[in-house]
Assembly symmetry: C2
Homo-oligomer: 338 residues x 2
């Protein structure tokens, strides 16, 4: 993408999104009705198969090359003491991803997904958004454009996740600016802050949103003022996936906040996305209501790294295995409903 990325370019993309392939979804539904089980007995697994078809634009659905994209960024607001971990942990964890030692590495191995880690100028944190905008428009749009590169030819599913010390602070601020409420509604322990540190984090979120109140009516401006590069990149990746007919599994609180920017900018933009899980971060449940997404599971996870999305890929693999591998009533000579 050109170095002079802009929000106008992004908005132009939002206005020409591909529609769902309802014929592919109908083909999935027709096959489901013939498989050797009571109609609907696989519940949401059946919906997941149809969803893959609808957004891949093909039947049967395919999971030959799922990609897990983890975007890493650093945040100036980390200097305000909002995280339980020091900022250098972002880069250290990127090293851990590269060496295969993190949770996401194990989950990608377990569910046969390709892991890509996108490191975003970790030595140049975004500006502290409690004092001014986190990014310029060019920086933010460039980060979105960088995120778009995660969607390459041949990918049939994208799991979106992140790593970035202090980024639950950024996500909370984005949610507060986009959806109102109070700072406390959206601010939680993240990696583990509590007590006075959590009160400080909540205060930072509230003050930052007040400072940038002029941005609140424009979702991309909210992203620019209160976001971070990895959050902008996730938003870009989600848009690019829609353009390329790649269904998306969104991970937890921070990735849902990135998605929420798109939801506000263009209702329906997230139709090709499923949210993997509801995180233990308290604001996530409310956020999922705002973006009208029902998570697949609630296991009290709050790690990020796309860990919940990768685990959901396991469920998707089960759904696709059933949809594509089961015998029909006719093939198996099983009597259908009396």
């Amino acid at each position: 993408m050109a170095a002079k990325a802009s929000f106008d370019e992004m908005r132009a993309l939002f206005s020409r999104l591909p529609d769902p392939d309802e014929a592919a979804a109908a083909a999935a539904a027709e096959r489901e009705g013939q498989l050797t089980k009571p109609p609907g007995a696989l519940g949401r697994l059946e919906e997941l198969s149809a969803w893959l078809c609808r957004w891949q634009g093909r039947h049967p659905p395919r999971l030959d090359r799922p990609r897990v994209a983890v975007f890493a960024g650093n945040h100036g607001v980390a200097a305000r003491g909002v995280s339980a971990f020091p900022a250098e942990v972002t880069a250290q964890m990127v090293g851990n991803f590269r060496n295969g030692g993190a949770a996401i590495n194990q989950l990608c191995k377990a569910f046969d997904a390709e892991l890509r880690v996108y490191e975003m100028a970790l030595d140049q944190p975004t500006a502290d958004f409690s004092a001014g905008p986190a990014m310029s428009e060019d920086d933010c749009a460039t980060a979105m454009a960088y995120g778009m590169t995660a969607v390459e030819d041949g990918i049939d599913l994208l799991c979106v996740g992140e790593m970035g010390i202090a980024n639950t602070t950024s996500a909370a601020a984005i949610c507060h600016a986009l959806f109102g409420g109070t700072a406390a509604d959206w601010t939680g322990p993240g990696t583990g802050v509590q007590g006075a540190a959590l009160a400080n984090k909540t205060r930072v979120v509230g003050e930052a949103v007040a400072l940038h109140r002029a941005a609140a009516g424009d979702a991309l401006e909210v992203l620019r003022c209160l976001g971070g590069r990895e959050i902008a990149a996730m938003a870009g990746a989600i848009v690019a996936a829609r353009m390329a007919r790649v269904p998306v599994l969104i991970d937890g609180f921070v990735s849902s906040a990135a998605a929420a920017v798109l939801h506000k900018a263009r209702p329906g933009l997230l139709d090709h996305c499923v949210v993997a899980h509801v995180s233990a971060e308290p604001g996530h449940r409310r956020l999922l209501q705002e973006i009208a997404k029902a998570p697949l599971f609630d296991l009290g996870m709050r790690l990020g790294e796309a860990s919940g999305a990768a685990l959901a890929l396991g469920l998707l693999r089960g759904a696709v295995a059933c949809h594509t591998g089961m015998a029909t009533f006719a093939e198996a000579a099983v009597s259908n409903k009396g």
Copy 2:
């Protein structure tokens, strides 16, 4: 096991159950604390790793040879028109299992589990329990003993499930007898009955429980009067797994009803069990409250065949992969909590 199996033998087993291995669970917790993630950030995945250790009696936990055991039985009560499918479907679906065409075959392949199907005298249904006891004590205890054979040396996890036309009627009757309430609290559509057929099914359950009210105080008598061979076999398999230190994933409504018999017979007997999911069958949620089990997910499934348990095995594989494969803070040179 001897042909003259008896409830006394079963009760003797219930009284000498192995205790959990808290040292193994503590070793799991100690390792969790060193892995490169905030403490507790993998939520229930961490609990699952510790649970496997606690009941396998070893650390690290192992998932080298998980077995899915599907027990199939036929029910005299099917003649009362309680199912949407004809009774011959039980045998036809067993054929489908053997030919690899059912949902459970695909899920076992997806999550690398060994599938064993246990066919239980399908041509001799149990007696219609709306007219008399479903089984004699010998028949019931023999079915339990047969179920125990599903636990062989080398198995490190057991997923328990079933196939049996009319068996949600049996499960509803067991729950109603064990836990009270009304027949309508426990009776649901099963494979898809509704309207007048569902009202008839509910009436059959209510009348049967009233007929066998003398059994209500004795869980094994409830199983004998209102159960079926596959339900008794699942109960036996769960007991045998406890004796052999094999953790168990329970599937849906019918397998939970089998487990509930054990819970009533000997509180704590299900401590080595996790319930995979809450089924769409409406009585299941209430049943899980009665046996104090929190399901891992709710995807609106209601197929049986151990399908939910096999899907939960996918989640377990993720948990074990993280627990055993992740780097520690020291190994990865990542700064720990500030």
